[in-house]
Amino acid sequence: VRPASRVAAGAALLAVLGLLVVQSRDAARASFLQVAEGTRLESALDARLNEDVLRSRQGLRRDYDALVGTAGHLRRLAHDVRRDAPADPAVSSALDAADEARSRKEALLDRFQSVSSVLTNSVSYLPVAIDAVLAATAGEPSAALRGPLVDLRHDALRYMLKPGPDLAAVVADDLAALERAPAPPHLEKDLAAVGAHARIVLRFAPVVDATLEELLAVPTAARYHALQDALRAARERQVRTVSLSRLLLGALVTAFALSVALLMARLRRRALRLDRERGDVARLNEELEGRVLLRTQDLARANEALAAASRSKSEFLANMSHEIRTPMAAVLGYADLLLDHGLGATERLGYVQTIRRNGEHLLTLLNDILDLSKIEAGKATVESIPCSPARIVVDVASLMRVRAVEKKLWFEIDYLTPVPETICGDPTRLRQILTNLLGNAVKFTDMGGVRVLVRCDGRDSPRPRISFCVADTGIGLTAEQIEGLFQPFTQADSSTTRRFGGTGLGLTICQRFARMLGGDITVESTPGQGSAFTLTVETGPLDGVPMYADLEEAGPSEPPERAPTPAELTGLRVLLAEDGADNQRLLSMFLRQTGALVTVADNGRMAVDGALSALAAGEPFDVILMDMQMPVLDGYGATASLRARAYERPIVALTAHAMADDRARCLAAGCDDYLTKPVDKASLYATVRRAAAGWRDRHAQPPALPPPLAALLVSELADDPEMQALVDDYVAALPDRTEALGSAVASADREAIGCLAHQLKGSAGSYGFMSITDAAAELERVAHAGEIAEIRRRAGELTSLCARARGRAP
């Protein structure tokens, strides 16, 4: 709404209110009462006027004062009433009508007074005059005169009492008779007067009565009543207006008050609701805070779990990558060896068997991963078919017994209870689980032996169970290790896995399958004394199934292995730090074939000790090939340890980790180069040669013989005799600088390297050695953020350039 219309509406409302207030005051009441009173008085006075006129006519009142006074009163009253009357058309016309009647009546009254006076005079005098004539003629013989006189007196009186045409004719006849009669001269005057008065009576009596009748017929009373009615009607209209105004005002006031009351009630409700809501909000806030706190804690926990899971998964992937690459390297490596034609049949057989074993391991690994991912995805299924537990135990045992025997362990199978001939189950899974358990037992046992105990419980119960307990006398497990034993992606100690092999998934998979078969795997162990893994599965109903209390046995055997050689890196001393026996063999073989002298270290610790002792003995290894994942001390730790002891000679990392940051991690640990397993023979040779050459280049003594002419770097200022001495001095100081650079590089002191490079860059150009300045700039560029190898290379280049620098042409 625009302000103008709002103002207009407000003004209209105020106007209406004002009108209502004015109307409701009923200001016209007093004047109405006055006017009504006036008209009532008019009616009364009018009635009195009629009364007075009649009284006058009857001779009861012989003066006109009252009559005239009443008429004057009426006239003044009419004036006042007209003045005070409400402005109403009906009242106005009623007033006009009443006034008209009153005026007419007044005029008639005026006329009545005149004619009545005349008539009164004649009526009172006529009998007197007649009597006087009669008296005067008494005793005289003129009976002719007396007769008509007497008649006239009589008839005139009758006529005066009741004037009418008949009597008028009679009186007229009497008059005529009187005039005809002979009159004595002395009575002539009197007789004339009698005649005149009789004629007056004859003339005026009907006029007076007619006037009176007309006067009385004037409808003043009706007019006054009509006026009163009109006034009453007007008043009623007025009262209606006033009533309506008051009602409307009352309604408005009531509505206003109600609105105020409603508004207040609503405000109060709103206030209450606000209070309530404020309370609710406060409570809600508290709840929310609590919930947020809980949720935050949950999230923190979940986050931790996720981070842990992520770490586990990354680690797992890294392990898998390593585990797959290791046997793969063996397979490919032995396959390469097989291509060498100069092999004997025995050697070939050994290689093939190695390839086969590694392939099998690979297969196992892949199966494990597949199994686990299937289980994880909920897609793994177990069969429920009749199978023989004894058969399964014997089959598995026959495989494991060989290994046990190889490790000089005893191997026993016992039935603690009779065992059913067949059970309902999944023979494949059972075989898998038992193979795993027995494999572990053999694997982790170096002394003593392995025992398999089979028992069947609850044969008669609805759910009979068969359990296989695999107990060993191996290294055992701590409580913490047991806790993480069955967790996927969790390996308490990667070193352990490294030492004993395996995927670390086996037990996880086995327990999942055991549970799918209606059972479980439990473990009891004492560290250093051995472990007992118990597989329990449901057998299905055993009614009528034959029970055996005895066993059978079976088992194959395995051929041994050997190593060959080509030639290239003759005389190079190489330390191979590698825990995997296959890779040890393979890589040493590759290297020996080139004429290198290979020393093998089984772990990082041995590698460090070997390298340092060789250095100390004056027969340092030219190159160390360092497997990064080894038991006891891994490659990273060993490299860091060596560098920490100022071991400067090349170390080449061997890693199965195909991860993106592996290379960076290796170099950061102090390695000079990097080889990924499975190792390609050619790149192995190239890398080892490069590493050895790089070292030799860097640490070769300054050559005793001057380098060939072409190799000399002559100052561009050589022809300037004035500069000759200065340039010679500068060149003479160069060896000191390169020596300082060399030691800085050896200690990987990037700051010192950068500083020396900067000095060379700034000075060399001034003495005419632009190429040295360029090389120094290159070194400076990489000194602070570049890779160590790069720095070494650049430093080497710079050193050789400096060595070739000459002040003048030879």
Binding site: S24, R29, E37, A44, D63, S243, A261, M264, R268
Partner: protein
């Protein structure tokens, strides 16, 4: 909480009170009819055609004085020579004693001057009764060219120019010198002119000794001869009109008719009003000759005879004439010098 409830209760109470007040509806009141009593209670002159004069009501003396001053002031006339009192000589029974009155510049009026004493008792004024109040009457002589020959405007201007008048008016009339105040003051004064206390009134009130036997006989003759048919009431006439010449043609006998002789006809234009005149009061008749509208009769005796002949249709003998004249002389009270 309780504040809200209090406010709510208060609002509702106010609403109820306000609504109740507004709902008291006005009534179409019917006041009791004021019974108009016919004043027949105590009438000392019961049955008599003549009645004693009542004294005038209480009047404001200041207004009376102012009115008298105005009444006597000739400056109100056109030429400053004629006052009301020039014709209505208060020392000569309110008349000038001339047949026709003299106006400004020696002009002669058409009619005989009626007395101003007790004129206020008459329901109509002038011979033809053309106005019904003293207030309305004043304009006539003031503006008539043959009388004062002035106008209200001129008269008021004259009065306003006089500081003493301004003071006198201001003392009695808040509006000062105005036509209404002027008229009212003169009328109030005229209402003070009364001839109450006559011997005849005492007689009417029962004091039979107030009149001599002759005078009483004159009163009887006055009634018997029909005089009292018209000359009745307290003012002995003045309250009705009558045609002059009921039994004989007065104007033919006089020798011709003049315009002013048409009487009330000049007001109404009705044929029946020809020669009709206001019946004059006879209270001061003994001293207000010459008589009749034309001032044609010099003596009271002659006037009685004229009336008997033309109005009553009879002869009045000398004896009765004298009695009637004697009676007429008892009508004036001491108020009119």
């Amino acid at each position: 909480m309780s504040l809200y409830q209090l406010a709510l209760v208060a609002t509702l109470a106010l609403t109820a009170a306000g609504g109740a007040w507004f709902l008291i509806l006005p009534e179409a009141e019917q006041p009791p009819v004021d019974s108009v009593t016919t004043t027949a209670a105590e009438d000392p002159a019961r049955g008599e055609p003549l009645r004693p004069l009542e004294p005038p009501g209480p009047l404001d003396p200041a207004k009376v004085a102012l009115g008298k001053r105005l009444f006597l002031d000739p400056r109100l006339s056109g030429d400053g020579t004629v006052s009301c009192a020039s014709c209505h000589d208060l020392q000569r029974a309110g008349v000038d004693g001339l047949a026709r009155s003299r106006g400004i510049g020696g002009a002669t009026g058409a009619l005989n001057t009626p007395t101003v004493y007790d004129a206020w008792r008459n329901p109509v004024q002038f011979w033809d009764g053309r106005v019904d109040s003293l207030e309305a009457q004043i304009e006539g002589p003031l503006t008539s060219p043959t009388e004062m020959g002035s106008s209200f405007a001129a008269a008021i201007a004259t009065l306003q120019a006089d500081p003493s008048y301004a003071r006198a008016f201001a003392a009695s009339y808040p509006q000062g010198v105005t036509r209404a105040a002027f008229v009212d003051a003169v009328a109030v004064f005229e209402r003070s002119l009364s001839t109450t206390g006559s011997r005849f009134d005492s007689f009417l009130r029962g004091d039979t000794g107030a009149l001599t036997a002759d005078e009483q006989a004159g009163y009887r003759a006055f009634k018997t001869y029909g005089c009292a048919s018209c000359h009745q009431g307290a003012n002995v006439g003045g309250n009705m009109f009558e045609t002059l010449g009921v039994f004989r043609d007065y104007f033919v006998d006089r020798g011709g008719e003049r315009p002013e002789d048409l009487g009330r006809y000049n007001v109404t234009g009705l044929a029946e009003d020809r020669h009709r005149f206001r019946v004059p009061s006879l209270r001061l008749a003994a001293r207000t000759g010459p008589y009749f509208h034309d001032g044609s009769v010099a003596t009271l005796e002659a006037a009685v005879q004229v009336m008997a002949r033309y109005q009553l249709g009879r002869e009045i003998g000398p004896r009765e004439e004298q009695l009637i004249v004697q009676f007429l002389k008892t009508l004036a009270g001491p108020g009119a010098p």
